[in-house]
């Protein structure tokens, strides 16, 4: 093992260091500006992103080629790029870079969306921002993890930080969300661990890309391997929030503070999909696609149907976005269906499409949750549909951005969501799963109904008085420059990513 390879994980180290700095800074400064801690946390995320890009550039210059999309696609010739570092525990490939980038983006934007909180002391403390950074570090590690041991430890770093974050507001709903998230998260982790135990028992290996390669190890019983993989999949589907293991999502997303909900809906989901992607592309691969891909396809169809159907009935926008998150998990699962006769190039294309979806989804969802997290002048949060009435008159820019996020989530051109959906449906069709893709398009059309309800509430619905006998008051919000930065930045990125969908891939070349 070559310890100098640790420098490939420097971005994670930067984020961890920032987490410690934030926590200690909270203790040291006596009279602090309320933007001091969020700015340090934001600087941690930005520095982490810079370090990530620097790593990518130096690897590309050194090997005179960009890293492979996943370690299985790497050439094996001497002197070629070997993404596996630290004895194969981590894989420094493009998929890992992309997941780490999405995690850092999600962390930075959720810090921005929490920075305007001043009435709630728990959300302006150093621990809150420190835990966000710790969770981001866990997600980044999860993106690179290539071994069941590092995978599990990264997953727990992320999950345990998020359990605490979900309960960080001192009210009943937040506590309930934390409790539910903790119990169900730990329950699913136990299944995941038991699955890993079975696989280890059957093969003696822990490396993600090696466990299914046949060898004359111990009880080479197919039952043990299959049982282990099934338990593992239950755990992973739980973490990404796919049906039938989605039931915890609405309550947890609704109860958690909105900044944390944004982080869970995007960063945690991206990291969980990193695990799923590595399982689908490296562990199973085309070789075992016959055995497993239909299971992913069934889960995708069920998840899209359940998420979209239940979202139709929600009056609470935050809860509606939670169900819409379930639906998007379904679309994303379509991007991970592997064709039995796929080659390395096709797999890399599929991964690229899925990563584009994760990026676009992170931008529009964090923007939408940024709007939902705002507080009206009368103290109500912008959570229920009727709270949005009159927003277009009071804050035209804000309403315009929210409308864009809704159109983008619904998958209308020219926004990022359209290309994201188009790309994953295309990769499902290319892999030969036409029926799930068609069902995806149909449910996507149906989803327009509930996204457009928000737009109607903002632009069409009459403003009602909060109390009888009072003059009707529109939705005037308290918000600060950090929230402005988040919402307008995410809005701009949603349009730009929709107009130039090849932008991110262009940067990679």
């Amino acid at each position: 093992m070559n310890w100098s390879e640790l420098s490939e994980l420097l971005p994670v180290g930067v984020v961890l260091a920032a987490a410690l700095v934030v926590v200690f800074l909270d203790l040291v400064i006596a009279h602090k500006d309320r933007y001091a801690l969020p700015m340090v946390a934001l600087a941690g995320c930005v520095l982490g992103l810079g370090s990530l890009i620097q790593n990518y550039l130096s690897l590309t210059t050194y090997y005179k080629q960009s890293p492979p999309w996943f370690s299985g696609a790497a050439e094996t010739a001497a002197g070629a790029f070997n993404p596996l570092i630290l004895g194969g525990h981590f894989s420094i490939d493009l998929f890992g870079f992309a997941i780490a980038g999405v995690a850092l983006l999600a962390g930075a934007l959720s810090v921005l969306s929490s920075a305007h909180e001043e009435d709630d002391s728990a959300l302006s403390s150093g621990e809150y921002y420190g835990l966000i950074l710790l969770a981001v570090a866990g997600m980044m590690l999860l993106g690179f993890a290539h071994d069941f041991l590092t995978l599990l430890v990264s997953l727990e770093i992320m999950s345990i930080s998020t359990y605490i974050l979900a309960g960080s507001r001192r009210d009943l709903k937040s506590g309930e969300a934390a409790l539910k998230y903790l119990v169900l998260g730990a329950f699913s982790t136990a299944f995941l661990m038991m699955g890993i135990a079975f696989i280890y028992g059957a093969t003696g290996k822990l490396s993600l890309s090696e466990v299914l390669i046949p060898s004359e190890q111990l009880v080479s019983s197919a039952f043990l391997i299959r049982g282990g993989l099934a338990l593992l999949l239950v755990g992973v589907l739980f973490k990404v929030g796919a049906a039938p293991f989605h039931f915890w999502i609405p309550d947890v997303y609704e109860g958690a503070p909105t900044g944390v909900t944004g982080l869970m809906a995007t960063g945690v989901k991206a990291a969980a999909f990193a695990v799923l992607g590595r399982l689908a592309f490296e562990t199973f691969g085309p070789r075992y696609a016959h055995d497993w891909a239909w299971l992913f396809a069934a889960a995708a169809v069920l998840t899209m149907a359940v998420g979209n159907f239940l979202a139709l009935r929600q009056e609470n926008v935050k809860r509606m976005l939670a169900y819409s998150g379930i639906a998007h998990t379904g679309y994303l699962l379509l991007g991970f269906l592997v064709s039995p006769n796929a080659d390395g190039i096709m797999l890399a294309d599929q991964l690229q499409n899925a990563v584009f979806y994760l990026l676009a989804y992170a931008l529009m969802t964090l923007g939408a949750f940024g709007v939902v997290g705002l507080v009206r002048e009368d103290g109500r949060r912008l959570e229920r549909l009727e709270d949005f009435a009159g927003l277009s008159k009071e804050h035209p820019g804000l309403a315009l951005c929210m409308a864009m996020f809704m159109f983008s989530l619904a998958g209308l051109p020219p926004f990022a969501g359209f290309f994201a959906k188009f790309l994953v449906f295309k990769s499902a069709v290319d892999a030969g799963y036409v029926l799930p893709a068609v069902l995806g398009v149909l449910t996507s059309v149906a989803s327009m109904a509930y996204y457009l309800r928000v737009v109607r509430a903002m632009y069409v619905d009459p403003v009602r008085a909060t109390k009888p006998g009072e003059a009707p008051a529109g939705a005037r919000c308290r918000y600060s420059w950090t929230t402005n930065l988040l919402i307008y930045g995410a809005g701009l990125a949603t349009i730009l990513l929709g107009l130039f969908p090849s932008g991110p891939t262009f940067l990679l070349r």
Binding site: F148, L149, L152, V153, E156, I160, Y163, I164, G167, R170, D171, L172, K173, G175, E176, A177, A178, L179, K180, L182, V183, A186, F187, T189, A190, M193, M194, I196, A197, F198, Y200, G201, G204, K205, L206, E216, Q217, L218, V219, P250, D251, E254, G255, Q314, E315, N316, R319
Partner: protein, 131 residues
Amino acid sequence: MDAALTLAASDLVQWLGNLLTFRLASCLALSGALFAIGAWGVLARRNILLVLISVELMLNAVMLAFVAFARAHVNLAKETGLPYAGESGQIFALTIIALAAAEAAVGLAIVIAYFRNRQTVDTRDISLMRH
């Protein structure tokens, strides 16, 4: 008489030896039973503390499975000369101890915070957000 005694003693030793011999199947059966009891506890218990204890039970079952598999891999390596794969299972079990401790610490803290707010630890009362 003396010979009979020796025979009985050696029988006893052999019986004990058989009893103590490592059997993968029995370890896995115990582990599976613990895991099932834990899962049942999570789903059926009404007291949130008992739910957390059940989760811990499931994690302990996983640890037992790992240690048993590690031992089996050691034996296999001795018999067949295949590459030794015993250490990773034991390291995994140790890691799970640390993870379980962290999870229990956070879990109890969340339960205490919740109890201060609601004065209840009954899972039937944890339903503010059902619509």
